[in-house]
């Protein structure tokens, strides 16, 4: 779901729909000023392929001196992000 220069992921993100989300997000990155936020408050599940979207987006933004911010992940998703060390490269707002 697109909300201005930010984005909201909801439900499940895995290999069956990750490409669609990645394309939508990539199209919005040019509009980002200093940062680009993805709202995760309604995201219930994310697989390995889904997580790679965050890394690719963060990498693309970093090359333009911008940053990715992940907003309000639920407890399970937050655990996953912390276990994978994503918090060391991506700002996570609880």
């Amino acid at each position: 779901m697109i909300t201005g220069s930010n984005y909201k992921l909801s439900g499940r993100v895995d290999g069956t729909n990750a490409e669609h989300y990645e394309t939508e997000i990539s199209d919005l990155l040019k509009e980002a000023d200093q940062s680009f936020s993805i709202d995760l408050s309604d995201l219930n599940y994310i697989s390995s392929i889904g997580l790679r979207i965050f890394l690719k987006v963060a990498k693309a933004l970093k090359s333009d001196d911008k940053k990715l911010v992940l907003v309000k992940p639920n407890a399970d998703i937050l655990d996953l992000l912390l276990m994978s060390g994503f918090d060391k490269i991506i700002e996570i707002q609880h």
């Binding site: 895995d14 290999g15 069956t16 490409e19 599940y45 697989s47 390995s48 392929i49 997580l51 790679r52 890394l55 690719k56 963060a58 990498k59 970093k62 996953l80 276990m83 994978s84 060390g85 994503f86 060391k88 490269i89």
Partner: protein
């Protein structure tokens, strides 16, 4: 999949073969290489959008052939399994094919002209086959890519993160880089490896296999 594109399994074999002897690097744990080769096939299938994983399971999302028969056979095997298994269980199962799988990948590299197949004689009697690299360019390219990644603060792309996981799990990092360099960069290497769930499953599978080796080794007491 482009036929010019090296798979992770091919990159791993190129690095694992000792250039001077043309044999698999003698100091790497053989079971670790078998397990890492299995993991590299699973990784390639995820990069090609055929399978996906999470911390509990591995699942098929597309059975469209990749055009690489080793990958397609692996995909067919995973797809035909009725039970859902974890990634580390699949790595262990496919890794059980051991030498036969390694030989298939070596053969594909020979067919592509990246390795030579040379017959040698041991003690003037026993025939053995070794596989020296044709030019070594591809191996040097992988080594340079990994060195650049672990020496920078770049966000790794998934493929590079996965190859670092494979090198770490097989202890091949110690073969490629000096111990001083590795000591300095270990935190960065661990961070890169940890980004990918398959790397964590690979590490668990190697650990489990190593534990089995320890458990099956007879205890010798010297009084």
């Amino acid at each position: 999949m482009s036929s010019n594109h090296l798979t992770l399994a091919e990159e791993l074999i190129l690095i694992t073969l000792d250039d001077s002897s043309g044999k698999l690097f003698p100091n790497a744990k053989p079971f670790a290489i078998d397990i890492a080769i299995a993991a590299s096939l699973i990784m390639e299938l995820t990069l090609n959008g055929r399978i996906d994983t999470d911390s509990e399971k591995l699942f098929v999302i597309s059975t469209i052939p990749t055009g690489n028969h080793i990958l397609d056979n692996t995909l067919a095997e995973i797809d035909s399994e009725k039970t859902t298994l974890s990634t580390s269980a699949w790595i262990t199962r496919i890794g059980g094919k051991g030498e036969s799988l390694n030989q298939l990948i070596i053969k594909s590299l020979v067919d592509r002209g990246l390795l030579m197949s040379v017959e040698k004689r041991l003690l003037w009697v026993f025939k053995t086959r070794v596989y020296p690299p044709t030019s070594g360019i591809e191996e040097r390219e992988v080594r340079a890519r990994v060195l650049h990644l672990i020496n920078s603060d770049e966000i790794p792309n998934p493929r590079d993160s996965l190859i670092v996981g494979l090198l770490q799990a097989t202890s091949l990092m110690n073969h490629l880089f000096t111990s001083d360099l590795l000591e300095t960069l270990q935190v960065r290497i661990n961070y890169i490896v940890n980004l990918e769930e398959i790397n964590r499953s690979l590490s668990a599978a190697v650990q489990e296999a190593w534990q089995k080796v320890i458990d099956s080794t007879p205890v010798v007491r010297i009084w």
